[in-house]
């Protein structure tokens, strides 16, 4: 899967990962990789601008915590983010089922 394809859905995937609880950047990237069985192998750093965008748009919030003497930035989903995630899920389901119908009905 191309990076451009992933990029279009990155924010929604990050929101989905944060739905299960607060996490820091590194663990979000780990989750993205493991949940996709290694298919989403974006440069790890590209996830951070997405996190900052989501925070800027009020869909997540971050707080600083000191863990084992190291400062961590923990991200957490907020109600607006949950709403956005629901919208993204609905849009994706409509889109993917439409594409599937065409691809499955018209096999080469």
């Amino acid at each position: 899967m191309s990076n451009q394809q992933i990029k279009g859905h990155l924010e929604a995937m990050v929101l989905a990962i944060l739905e299960s609880g607060p996490a820091h950047g590194y663990s979000i990237i780990e989750s993205l990789r493991s949940e996709s069985d290694g298919l989403f192998d974006l440069p790890e750093g590209t996830v951070y601008p997405a996190l900052h965008r989501l925070e800027e748009n009020g869909l997540i919030k971050s707080s600083r915590e000191v863990v084992d003497g190291r400062e961590r930035r923990i991200y957490q989903l907020v109600p607006a983010g949950l709403g956005s995630l629901k919208e993204s899920r609905a849009a994706w389901q409509a889109f993917s089922s439409a594409v599937s119908r065409i691809l499955v009905v018209n096999p080469s």
Binding site: G8, E11, H24, G25, Y26, I29, P43, E44, G45, T46, Y48, P49, A50, H52, R53, L54, E56, N57, R70, E71, R72, R73
Partner: protein
């Protein structure tokens, strides 16, 4: 200096934002790279190789800086219309303050006053149209997480034109008011002086603040995904689309209204005296549409001038 520090220094040099924000980003990236290196070491890699692998997996400095800079640019782009609107409202308020405080004068305005008033009205019209164009684009992309570099270039360009026109209008109306203060003994000179001071300060501050905004558009110019938004937010873009499809009809309507309005507002006593100002307004509208149309995306351009920032 280890590999992670070298990477962070290079990233620091490429980030275009405030020092405080850079520090937040660099701390976060450092934590990530340390986590990644620790994981590599736990899998058996030597420390120096672990750092190299961590940096490699994170992405090139250029790519990561572009991502952060675009994010910061999008934030700055949303601030631009606010700066312009606040400046416009303050200048307009200062003008109203002068208008209300001055005694009624039934004599015909001098040619200098008519010319400066005409220039200020024209400048405000350009400021209004450019400001509305920029604000329309921002509104239509408001819910989109990313704004493309093209959108950011457009908004900055429209807002700069708007504020420059506003500044020109301020200079023209200030000259007009100064003339009035010198030649009319009954004028309220204190209010005129204060208003001129407020208008010039506001226009200069707004222009300075706007020109300092870094929208980082050159980092990425490709289109971004647009989140669907209620139609009321895209009303401005829809109107711009209609103007673009029917430029001649739109221009005819606008020029007619503008010409009649200029004749109505001209400080003259007869229709004959007002007519030149109506004609001048129509010519200015046509000229403005010809010159600014491609820049504000109101009509197709035959040159690449619209791409010039």
């Amino acid at each position: 200096m280890n590999t992670i520090d070298i990477y962070l220094n290079e990233l620091d040099a490429k980030l275009e934002m405030s020092q405080r924000h850079r520090r937040v980003i660099l701390n976060e990236v450092r934590e990530h790279l340390l986590d990644a290196a620790t994981r590599e070491i736990s899998l058996g890699a030597p420390a120096n190789i672990a750092e190299v692998n961590a940096v490699k997996a994170f992405g090139s400095v250029q790519q990561i800086a572009e991502g952060f800079n675009a994010c910061e640019g999008a934030k700055a782009t949303k601030q631009a219309p606010f700066i312009t609107v606040v400046s416009g409202v303050l200048v307009f308020s200062a003008c109203l303050a002068v208008a209300w405080s001055q005694p009624r004068n039934s004599s015909v305005a001098s040619l200098f006053q008519q010319v400066t008033f005409f220039i200020s009205v024209l400048a405000v019209q350009v400021a209004l149209v450019s400001g509305l164009c920029g604000a329309s684009r921002i509104c239509s992309r408001w819910k989109s997480l990313e704004s493309s570099g093209r959108d950011r270039v457009y908004v900055r360009r429209a807002m700069l034109i708007s504020l420059r026109s506003l500044a020109l209008g301020v200079v023209a109306i200030s000259s007009n008011l100064l003339f009035d203060a010198i030649h009319n003994k009954n004028s309220n000179r204190m209010v005129i002086a204060l208003s001129i001071l407020v208008m010039i300060s506001v226009a200069a501050t707004g222009l300075l603040k706007l020109s300092r905004i870094k929208i980082n558009s050159l980092f990425e110019l490709e289109e971004s995904a647009i989140t669907p938004i209620p139609r009321v937010f895209t009303l401005g873009e829809t109107i711009i689309g209609v103007i673009k499809v029917h430029p001649k009809v739109s221009l005819l309507c606008v020029a007619t209204v503008a010409g009649l309005s200029a004749m109505n507002k001209a400080e003259t006593n007869t229709l004959q005296q007002a007519l030149p100002w109506g004609i001048a307004e129509v010519i200015a509208t046509l000229l403005g549409f010809y010159l600014l149309g491609p820049v504000l995306n109101l009509r197709e351009s035959h040159t690449d001038s619209a791409e010039i920032i």
